[in-house]
């Protein structure tokens, strides 16, 4: 994985010193809260409902054991013993004190981590496929380019006061596990007719109160032009994006109001002026970054994996966990292990400091010292030898981390909701907890099969409800929490935005409604039909009738 050189260390350390000075100027009153706000936001520090919240960047979700141990230390020392992994592959701490934050950032800097640009109207942490480098379907490791973009965008002098926040995602595989169509810029690696690898550039996707699917503005961008093209997009957006209305300030609104073709023409015009210049990405530089992401030293002589097969046959729970949580690595004899942070009844994405320490140890022993955070708020060990899988599973089980539900109904994405967030209209976490308790039976989960349930506590859609098979949106109705349900959303290459099914449900009734939808799906699906396929085939009516009774004419 990427390792800081002196250059990276200097920038992060200077940033810590700079923020320490800014905090002291705020504490002394030299800076007003209004003046301090953009400074703390550019260092990931929000003022939430009860306390400050610090969001720490995990570039493209990749962590070393040493780094996650530090995250555990921070949870113990500065927080209440846990952290929350987010849909953008970051981690959030909900209870730090302002005066502690400089020390906390210094601790992070000691393991090559920071909170730079995890909030504010700037280019945010760049996300990538959580299976990058190990997926058997990828063209190239997307983290190479995510790291290049991370460096280019860090403390960018021109793009630190954009009209609104700006999110970039990179996918190196045709199966989109990075939701590139729901980012301000999505970069989808493609091969051109000459067999060269480059990027399809998508712009203007996003969720929030106005969900929009990104549109392609360039079918193929050569790698060497990546940064100049990004600069052209950002410059056009910085100058033309709306600044009169915070709800219309994202690039998706600019692209929509300008029209895709005209927007693309503006970008191309600026790009043609600057391409081939200082931002040209040379092969040497790509290779330098690539070397950091070289595959680990896999055991090349395949051991017979009979032990693993025998264990699967002998141990039903292990077998079930393998079926849902393990996928094949492109290296024969190895698997990609997903560790669920969604045990029944718990807050999705939360991990205790002790669990983080266990994850660090297991990554060290079983996965070349490396972990990834997924946009579904789980953890991935990318390089686990099948031979050791049963032993790994036993240790996960002992730590309460062996929930076998990846991609299943209880693998719920949820935002922090009204329990933490001052934007929320309704609670998200308790709804997720109640659904996961309702669907805690492993046989039932397996029978239902793959299902995305996503919950947001307000229209800002941090819980990605627009792209759930079943999306749940918390709304406030005269001081009471209600939940609007959408069906048919899809964040992948089959991209779709969910449709509202009908009147919202109360907090008490929403879990029953979800159960009704799932039961209806189970009744009407054909063999092996996914929820999305069933939805596309039958549409809204059967679900609506079950939920609200037959339509009256």
């Amino acid at each position: 994985m990427y390792r800081y050189d002196e250059f990276d260390h200097t920038i992060v350390q200077e940033r810590v010193d700079q923020f320490r000075d800014q905090v002291s100027r705020r504490v002394s009153g030299e800076l007003t809260e209004e003046e301090f706000r953009p400074l703390r936001l550019m260092n990931g520090l929000y003022l939430q409902l009860h306390a400050y919240m610090l969001r720490v960047a995990i570039p493209y979700g990749t962590l070393s054991s040493k780094q996650i141990r530090m995250l555990a230390h921070i949870a113990r020392r500065y927080d209440r013993g846990y952290g929350h992994f987010t849909t953008r592959q970051n981690i959030q701490y909900n209870w730090p004190k302002l005066e502690d934050v400089p020390d906390l950032l210094a601790d992070l800097a000691s393991v090559e981590m920071h909170a730079i640009q995890t909030s504010g109207n700037c280019i945010r942490n760049v996300t990538a496929d959580a299976y990058a480098g190990v997926a058997d379907d990828e063209l190239e490791d997307s983290r190479i380019y995510a790291e290049i973009i991370r460096q280019w965008s860090t403390l960018h002098p021109e793009f630190s006061f954009l009209p609104r926040k700006f999110k970039i995602a990179v996918s190196g595989a045709p199966t989109d596990r990075a939701a590139v169509r729901f980012h301000d810029i999505g970069l989808q690696m493609r091969q051109n007719i000459r067999g060269e690898v480059g990027f399809e550039v998508l712009v203007g996707g996003g969720q929030g109160r106005t969900p929009i699917i990104a549109e392609t503005i360039r079918d193929f961008l050569p790698k060497q032009d990546l940064l100049s093209y990004l600069e052209a997009i950002l410059r056009v957006y910085n100058m033309l994006g709306r600044r009169d209305n915070i709800y219309k300030a994202r690039i998706k609104i600019l692209v929509k109001e300008t029209g895709r073709d005209k927007f693309a023409a503006l970008v191309e015009e600026e790009w043609n002026r600057i391409r081939g210049g200082a931002l040209d990405l040379h092969k040497d530089e790509i290779n330098r970054i690539r070397s950091y992401f070289a595959p680990p030293l896999y055991e090349l002589t395949p051991e017979p994996d009979t032990d693993y097969q025998i264990a699967r046959r002998a141990d039903r729970d292990f077998d079930r966990w393998c079926a849902s949580n393990v996928v094949s690595n492109k290296q024969p004899g190895y698997g990609i292990v997903n560790i669920s942070l969604k045990p029944a009844g718990m807050a999705p994405g939360d991990a205790t400091a002790d669990q983080m320490d266990v994850l660090a140890d297991l990554a060290e022993t079983y996965s070349f010292d490396e972990l990834r955070v997924t946009h579904k708020q789980n953890i991935v060990l990318g390089h686990v030898r099948l031979v050791g899988l049963h032993a790994l599973w036993q240790q996960l089980d002992a730590a309460g981390l062996a929930t076998a539900n990846i991609g299943l109904a209880s693998d719920i994405i949820a935002c922090p909701g009204l329990d933490y967030c001052n934007l929320a209209n309704a609670r998200s976490i308790p709804v997720a907890q109640r659904i996961s308790e309702r669907f805690a039976n492993p046989d039932q989960l397996a029978r239902i099969g793959a299902l995305r349930i996503n919950i947001s506590g307000c229209i800002n859609a941090c819980g990605h409800h627009h792209v759930g098979d079943i999306g749940i949106l918390g709304v406030d109705r005269r001081g009471e929490e209600f939940y609007q349900i959408t069906l048919g959303g899809d964040p992948t290459e089959n991209v779709a935005i969910g449709e509202v099914i009908g009147p919202a449900f109360s907090y008490d009734d929403v879990v029953d409604a979800v159960e009704t939808i799932i039961a209806t799906y189970e009744t009407i699906r054909t063999i092996d039909e996914t929820f999305a396929q069933t939805w596309r085939r039958v549409g809204v009516t059967p679900f609506k009738e079950k939920l609200y009774g037959p339509a009256r004419h």
Binding site: E35, P157, F159
Partner: protein, 173 residues
């Protein structure tokens, strides 16, 4: 207002010619885009040094043909969160080759100075009561750069180009 240029507070040699004021023949007038568009020929006929203010919704292409006529271009930041002028500065330096003074005016804060400098802005209108030495130190807080802008051309990595640690007052276009 004080003017911070190359780490020093200096006396401002320019004055604003209001839109309704008579062209007074005095030296070093700064005019608005509206005034320029209205009285361009008269202003040129004065044969004086001229400056112009670009408001944050007035991109440089509005004065594209005349850019070299100005010695000073003021870029207005109505709120520090309005970052359009960072791009205007880069266009003025890179696209239009403007070599005169680029001056940040309006809500110019200490913690934005280094970003402005890197985009090619080289003069900063700041409140009279600020500590100029403290403000100048803002230029040197971050000494390494991940990306080229107006101060340095390339992405600077130690193993590609030698480390580049200059601060305000020592940059080139």
């Amino acid at each position: 207002m004080a003017l911070l240029v190359t780490n020093k507070v200096i006396k401002d040699q320019w004055h604003i010619l209001e839109d309704d004021a008579q062209i007074d023949g005095g030296d070093n007038m700064i005019v608005s885009v509206e005034r320029w568009q209205r009285d361009r020929d008269d202003l040129i006929a004065c044969n004086r040094d001229l400056g112009i203010v670009l408001k944050s919704d007035q991109p440089p292409n509005l004065i594209e043909k005349d850019i070299q006529r100005f010695s000073v271009i003021c870029l207005e930041f109505p709120k520090f969160t309005d970052g359009r002028a960072y791009s205007y500065a880069r266009l003025l330096r890179n696209k239009y080759g403007f070599k005169g003074e680029l001056r940040a005016v309006g809500n110019v804060l200490r913690d934005q100075l280094a970003f402005m400098l890197r985009c090619g802005i080289d003069a900063f209108e700041i409140a009279d009561n600020v500590n100029a030495r403290d403000w100048s130190s803002a230029f040197g807080e971050i000494t390494v750069r991940y990306q080229g802008a107006n101060d340095i051309a390339n992405i600077v990595r130690p193993n590609i180009i030698p480390p580049h640690n200059d601060v305000a007052g020592n940059w080139s276009y």
